[in-house]
């Protein structure tokens, strides 16, 4: 089997595949709980796979609805008795970590069918996720050093953007290109358009870099349209072993490689380099593929700078050259010269209830099944890269390489 770059993918890579997906369609719920979103999404994803609750023997949960008891509480709610329970909670990247761990558990034959779920009512709960002061629930050393300065979530990413501009000459217009591309894709996705309406976005249409640069400054140099939305939402993903995958209702989407990493404040650290610089090469090496083999790049777009720094760190272009790389609409689904970026509309323009990582896997699967609303013809390989936490301080990253037969 030949990838675009002529790299051989061996059959033994077909260990585990995503066989079921569901993205909860509503971005503004009224009275529905996050646990209900998780359960309903799980039911739909299992149906999509042609499976039932009884088939699930591995449960992955980031703990967003049951902090400290991730997995156990949701196993009870779902009425499951899994043999593998994984409560890895590293913010928005949790679901790429879960996929990596499910692949390992299935390879070890500890499990055959893994369930990943996510549910959030972030929009209904509060409106200020990006500019709230850090809560500092527990006095930790890092919290004690940082919370008195009130650095917002957006401010943390802005520190990276400011440094990227300083170090490499990146411009606001170049960062804006990422928001322009994701909106271009969102406008082709009816669920994304409905999200923009439900969240009362003004002037719902394709945007230009000039629109982004004209939007109001939130934390220099990041402007409103450099920032993701805050929505409600959730979803589920079912991962199965090769034997189950062969009998699945839909074409399996294989997990070909995974990598994990964390990044945090260190004296002298270059904050323009994300944890993806570690997780990416590990994942690509395991898959036996290269960035240029990727038809689809599902990159965690909390902010435009997140995508630019990660594209560089994954090796789509050299460090510091992200501005020139994204220019001219290169990452649109209908343009050659690069992978299609966040073809569902991304967190910037479709769905970001706080921890977006699950949707990266879901849209990658849609593309490799041929179901996207911005479909790349014959898409064969995709990378899903989750980034959780705060890029300017501490964050976690996981890279997953996916492919179809």
């Amino acid at each position: 089997m030949q990838g675009r770059g002529g790299v051989r993918v061996v059959a033994s890579d077909r260990t585990a595949a995503i066989v079921g997906i569901h993205e909860y369609p509503d971005r503004r719920v009224d009275g529905t709980s996050a646990m209900q979103i998780k359960a309903r999404s799980a039911a739909r994803a299992l149906e999509d796979a042609g499976l039932g609750w009884r088939d699930v023997d591995a449960l992955y949960d980031a703990g967003e609805t049951a902090p400290g008891m991730a997995g156990a509480v949701m196993a009870e709610y779902f009425n499951l008795h899994p043999r593998v329970v994984d409560g890895t909670g590293v913010g928005g990247s949790s679901y790429e970590f879960h996929a990596a761990h499910a692949l390992a558990a299935i390879r070890e034959k500890k499990a055959r069918v893994a369930l990943l779920t996510y549910g959030s009512t972030a929009k209904s709960d509060a409106g200020r996720a990006g500019t709230a002061a850090p809560r500092g629930d527990r006095p930790t050393p890092a919290a004690n050093m940082e919370t008195p300065w009130g650095l917002t979530l957006i401010g943390s990413y802005a520190l990276v953007a400011a440094r990227h501009m300083h170090q490499y000459g990146t411009t606001a217009e170049e960062l804006a290109e990422i928001a322009v591309t994701t909106r271009y894709h969102a406008m082709r996705n009816p669920e994304a358009v409905r999200a923009l309406e439900a969240l009362h976005f003004r002037d719902i249409r394709e945007i230009t870099a000039a629109d982004v640069v004209a939007s109001r400054m939130i934390a220099d140099p990041l402007r409103l349209l450099d920032c993701c939305m805050v929505s409600d939402g959730g979803g589920a993903v079912v991962i199965a072993d090769a034997e189950v995958a062969r009998d699945a209702r839909r074409r399996p989407v294989w997990l070909l490689g995974s990598g994990e990493a964390v990044g945090y404040p260190e004296n002298g650290r270059d904050i323009t380099v994300t944890a993806g610089a570690q997780s990416g090469p590990i994942a690509f090496a395991q898959a036996g593929l290269r960035p240029e083999d990727m038809d689809i790049a599902m990159i965690y777009d909390s902010f435009t700078i997140t995508v630019m720094a990660i594209l560089e760190d994954l090796g789509f272009c050299a460090k510091g050259e992200g501005g020139a790389y994204v220019a001219g609409g290169r990452l649109r689904f209908d343009r050659p010269g690069g992978p299609a970026l966040n073809t569902d509309g991304g967190g910037l323009s479709s769905n970001h209830p706080g921890m977006r990582g699950l949707f990266l896997l879901i849209e990658a699967v849609r593309q490799l099944r041929g179901d996207s609303t911005s479909q790349v013809p014959d898409a064969r390989y995709a990378v899903a890269h989750g980034n959780g936490g705060q890029l300017g301080t501490r964050h976690a990253a996981s890279t997953i390489i996916l492919g179809r037969d």
Partner: protein, 141 residues
């Protein structure tokens, strides 16, 4: 009159044994950092173990309090009333000359002039019982 609790910025909370000595020194207007007695590594933020070797013997030092802005953002919007009252507010990563980096507010009447590479010096901020190490720009040579 009862003070408006909402208008007080979030402050470090104790007991928290790693940062308590740091803030005790801040009250004496000493900006402090640690080095390892065994390998000499700079350890910051404060801890009770060396982050390079396996030593658990660290010693405290006082910094001269001078540094350079590594990166900066100017917050224009904030969900917390104490910070909303201070907007626009410059928050920076400061590389202190002795070799450690910390996050801090840049205290200035002109936040929009604050920039990467700018020299700064410590500017103590008193909030009730707590003294915080802010920084302020100094003339560029």
């Amino acid at each position: 009159m009862t003070p408006d609790i909402e208008a007080v910025r979030p402050l470090p909370r104790f007991p928290e044994p790693d940062t308590e000595p740091f803030y005790a020194r801040c009250r004496e207007h000493r900006l402090s950092y640690q080095t390892c007695r065994k390998c000499g590594a700079i350890v910051f933020y404060p801890r009770s173990h060396c982050t390079r070797c396996t030593s658990t013997e660290l010693m405290w030092h006082d910094s001269e309090g001078r540094g350079t802005i590594y990166s900066v953002t100017i917050m224009r919007q904030h969900g917390h009333p104490a910070f909303r009252a201070r907007l626009p507010m410059a928050v920076a990563l400061v590389d202190v000359d002795e070799g450690f980096r910390l996050l801090a507010e840049i205290v200035t009447d002109d936040p929009f002039s604050v920039h990467i590479g700018q020299p700064v010096t410590v500017a103590w901020i008193t909030e009730g019982e707590v003294t915080l190490p802010g920084f302020t720009p100094v003339a560029e040579s």
